[in-house]
């Protein structure tokens, strides 16, 4: 006899599919923000499941900082090809060249991608954008709604959020306003990896451990490549490392790891004692309220 109890991964999957379908049913022109990272891949995978055997009925958009790992771009293109979906690229480099945004002194394009994102959303008339944000990532995100209302400047007002009760989502907006939708709100990093392993998904090989040439800067291990070349006086070494997040290639550090398979990553994630952003993202180590500030401006 079956117990009629869904496993926690399948419950999370069902909840996400419900959210994705709800947006498509209620909003005029949704788009899925796709970075090529693990969270956006999981989101895209479930979007495909939500509408099978039909194709995903909305485009995906990549805000291209121009600082991508090649393996991330390759993975993106394989997914686009396999699912037969439309890809919109919003280029940060192009926006810098046009004078919309200015390069920041520390080389991070994290913050300046926000105006590029907002411009593209407006240009294409998107009224709903799916993002891969999770509430376990960061304290400001822990209080974000699944359907997160943004005013006509794309801003988030944490004190003025719509109550979200049961699974009755309210996506009603006026002209020019939009919602950000977070189908992965209730997933943790461990859930993401368990799901990727269970579904044997195609992800950038950067997530898997292998021996790479790295340089140690302030305790963070950066792979030596075109984005992070060796500086004078530095010495590199060969270590078995992998990436826990894949942000801008010039600022994302790797972690020491022997986890070269998906199942090994699940085990490592279950044991790890430091947050993914704390471990690897130079751009998040700004202030206690860094994420909240960026989100208010319209960041994901």
């Amino acid at each position: 006899m079956t117990s009629h109890v869904l496993s926690q991964l399948r419950s999370l999957e069902a909840e996400s599919i419900h959210i994705i379908r709800e947006v498509v049913a209620e909003m005029e022109r949704p788009v899925l923000l796709f970075s090529g990272g693990k969270d956006s891949i999981v989101m895209l995978h479930m979007a495909a499941k939500a509408f099978a055997p039909a194709r995903i009925p909305f485009p995906i958009m990549h805000v291209d900082t121009g600082l991508n790992f090649q393996s991330v771009l390759d993975t993106r293109d394989r997914w686009v090809e396999r699912l037969g979906i439309q890809l919109v690229v919003a280029s940060v480099q192009d926006a810098i060249d046009r004078g919309l945004v200015k390069e920041e002194p520390n080389g991070s394009r994290n913050r300046i991608q926000t105006p590029v994102l907002l411009e593209a959303v407006e240009k294409h008339g998107f009224d709903a954008a799916f993002g891969g944000g999770r509430r376990d990532e960061e304290k400001a995100r822990a209080k974000e709604r699944v359907f997160s209302f943004r005013d006509d400047f794309g801003q988030w007002d944490p004190k003025n959020q719509r109550p979200e009760i049961w699974n009755l989502y309210n996506g009603r907006v006026h002209q020019g306003e939009s919602i950000r939708v977070f189908p992965l709100s209730n997933w943790t990093e461990l859930d993401i990896w368990s799901y990727i392993a269970a579904e044997n998904m195609d992800i950038p090989d950067l997530y898997l451990a292998q021996e790479r040439e790295v340089v140690n800067r302030d305790g963070m291990l950066f792979a030596v490549n075109e984005f992070t070349p060796l500086k004078e006086g530095e010495t590199s070494e060969i270590r078995s490392v992998r990436y826990r997040t894949v942000g801008d290639a010039n600022l994302t550090a790797a972690v020491e790891s022997q986890a070269s398979t998906l199942n090994a990553i699940v085990e490592e994630t279950a044991a790890v004692r430091i947050t993914e952003r704390g471990a690897t993202r130079g751009d998040d180590k700004v202030s206690e309220a860094a994420m909240e500030d960026r989100k208010r401006e319209g960041y994901f």
Partner: protein, 436 residues
């Protein structure tokens, strides 16, 4: 790598872990943050860099102890004012279960936040300070949890260390609380003597309470039997989206996508589509991973029917001999959540029920409930922010509803202000859950 983490990783991938959502209610003083901190810490969910950051901030402020509430108070205004503004969601997992905690602040906007947190909860944790006993706030939180139909209430009698782990104190609180709860509908009520600060009976059984024969909190939560809480009897499938592929290989495909609200559906079952009232048979229940033998809540599936009938989003699939009521006059309890204007008779709102939107007008306010005394105030003309009341609505088209206490999926709705688009109320079809 320890055995625990190996077990956890294995359990999560092989599908033997299920999900439990619980809401915590309480105020700053009764140790709710400490309890959550203890659960997260002892289950190794607090990360080192998070703890470092909290320890540093606590030291900067000159606190004697590490303020674990800083882990959950994520917004700048919350940290500046030392208050919790909004529901925060926290996550932890053991090899048996994954837990989602809806941490609802006790003082500001408590009703709105508690209703939000409890709306999806399998269980509610109510904290009672052993020195103070059952106070107004404990009653209020319990009432709201039962109003939202939370089936399991766990009363944590906290700060047992400050009453010398006295069995008598615990038993008196249990007696008081049980007496009060008998006026409410509480299917499962459990009492646990704990000290969140010292860790007694939170994760590990305490040697300080040899008289206590129950489980520590975490094992209790791990073992709570929630499978039978779901309504597996009344088939309700609100159609969310119609799938018609515009591709050559699946041109004739027509499937009704949705989430099973209640009941168990199987291919071959006779069903009726509402509002059309036409009967047909389930041909197949599809998922992206192939057809399934049965579908039950909360599965997201796509149903194909044997006959071509006109069904669209907002319609409901049920069994011919077991259908929801099709009502345009709705009798409901509502919790008002809008600070800008109260609910008054004659006002019109947008209403969302399952996957259907309609418009609704407030015909009457029967009474407002005093959430502290449970007294019904009749003759009121409005329901204000954080107030609960019983109202009558007239809806522009029939909604397919069941009483909330029988079916929270088809018994719940929200009201939306048509000019601001804000969600202004949570509504539950049917009367109050208590007997008096």
């Amino acid at each position: 790598m320890s055995t625990t983490t190996e077990n956890l990783a294995e359990a999560l991938t092989d599908g033997s872990t299920d999900l439990l959502r619980f809401a915590t209610a309480g105020s700053v003083d009764d140790g709710k943050s400490t309890l959550i901190g203890r659960l997260l810490f002892d289950s190794k969910t607090i990360f080192e860099d998070q703890l470092d950051s909290v320890e540093n901030v606590s030291k900067d402020r000159g606190n004697d102890y590490t303020d674990l509430s800083l882990l959950t108070d994520g917004l700048r205004a919350e940290r500046e004012q030392g208050i919790t503004i909004d529901v925060a969601y926290r996550y932890f997992a053991t090899p048996k279960r994954k837990f989602i905690i809806a941490d609802t602040p006790g003082h500001i906007q408590y009703t709105r936040n508690m209703v939000t947190g409890a709306s999806t909860a399998d269980a509610a944790l109510i904290l009672v300070d052993a020195r103070k006993g059952v106070i107004e706030q404990s009653r209020r939180h319990t009432f709201l949890a039962t109003l939202l139909g939370v089936p399991h209430i766990v009363v944590c009698v906290n700060k047992m260390d400050l009453v010398d782990y006295s069995e008598e104190v615990f038993e008196n609180i249990r007696k008081d609380f049980t007496e009060f709860a008998s006026r409410l509908r509480v299917p499962d009520l459990t009492f646990i003597p704990i000290s969140a600060l010292e860790g007694d009976n939170v994760v590990n059984r305490s040697e300080n309470t040899p008289w206590y024969e129950g489980s520590p909190l975490l094992s209790h939560l791990e073992r709570l039997h929630v499978a039978s809480d779901r309504n597996l009897v009344d088939v309700r499938f609100p159609v969310q989206y119609v799938i018609r592929p515009q591709s050559h290989d699946a041109r004739d495909y027509r499937g009704y996508a949705g989430t099973v609200a209640s009941g168990v559906m199987k291919p071959g079952d006779r069903v009726v589509a509402l509002p059309a009232g036409l009967e047909t048979t389930i041909e197949s229940i599809d998922t992206a991973d192939g057809p399934v033998d049965e579908a039950y809540p909360p599965m997201a599936v796509t149903v194909r029917l044997a006959d071509e009938i006109d069904i669209s989003r907002g319609d409901m699939i049920a069994r011919p001999n077991n259908t929801p009521a099709a009502l345009q006059n709705i009798d409901a309890q509502i919790c008002w959540m809008d600070e800008s204007a109260p609910l008054t008779v004659g006002k019109k709102y947008a209403i969302k029920h399952t996957t259907r939107w309609a418009r609704a007008m407030v015909k009457d306010i029967n009474y407002r409930v005093d959430v502290n005394s449970l007294h019904r105030d009749e003759g009121v003309t409005e329901i204000k922010l954080n107030e609960i009341g019983r109202i009558q609505l007239r809806v522009t088209q029939p909604l397919f509803v069941d009483p909330y206490q029988q079916n929270s999926e088809t018994g719940s709705f929200i009201l939306v202000d048509e000019s601001t688009n804000k969600t202004v109320a949570a509504g539950m079809v049917g009367g109050l859950p208590h007997s008096s």
